[in-house]
Symmetry: C2
Subunit: 106 residues, 2 copies
DNA sequence: AAGATAGGTGACCATTTGGTCACATGTCAA
DNA sequence: TTGACATGTGACCAAATGGTCACCTATCTT
């Protein structure tokens, strides 16, 4: 699996996007702290965090018996550069084309 | 399912991202034309196109017995505005925070 | 040392997803 | 008008995914 595949798959789940929201609002949270914000057992949250870590969207480090989690914006920035710009660069042109095509009578 | 959920789920599959690439390179292709670029039966491609249409990433219209497909950049633009910016706005700050946190000795 | 606390692993299960196929409909062209 | 062509539908199957749980290790606190 490629890096961008891992990132897109990680972003595909609403729970994982919510976890990113939580970490965006405040970084450096433990598993237990994140779990308390979700209607899900600790194990479910662990799995989601693992997927996010494997996509490098979250970075974690041990601090004693705790593990603190941080948001890593770099992969999203890379998508932005590789994917989004690709479409939005020519945004106006594409929209105009589409509009013209759709207005051609069949 | 919310709109952005549909878009993220649609983008999660590499075949669907490839279809978007194809349509980005050249719009207005038929199912058969798209199928010929993929190692997959027509039916698989149809399912993927359906997912992309339901996410509004692709717009299609019938032309005789054909169905021509167009890339719609708007949903990606919306993600860009709602999601990506959210992280990249404070990109430098977040990176600096992360760096500082990671450098604190445990 | 011993209980409480934080996190990790592997098995397990239900649901979703990606893909194929048999069959069917609508449209073009000779 | 008949055959070829382009697309559509529903059943079906294997694999991936999201979630829980029993059990385990490591660390902190008293």
């Amino acid at each position: 699996m490629t890096d961008d595949d891992r990132v897109f798959k990680a972003l595909a789940d609403p729970t994982r996007r919510f976890l990113l929201d939580l970490l965006f609002a405040r970084d450096g949270r433990t598993l237990t702290e994140l779990e308390s914000e979700l209607e899900m057992t600790r194990f479910g949250v662990m799995k989601h965090l693992k997927v996010l870590e494997e996509a490098a969207l979250v970075v974690a480090r041990k601090r004693g018996r705790e593990k603190v989690h941080f948001l890593n914006p770099v992969p999203i920035r890379l998508i932005h550069d590789r994917w989004i710009d690709k479409f939005t660069e020519q945004h106006a042109a594409a929209l105009a084309d589409l509009k013209r095509e759709l207005e051609e009578s069949p």
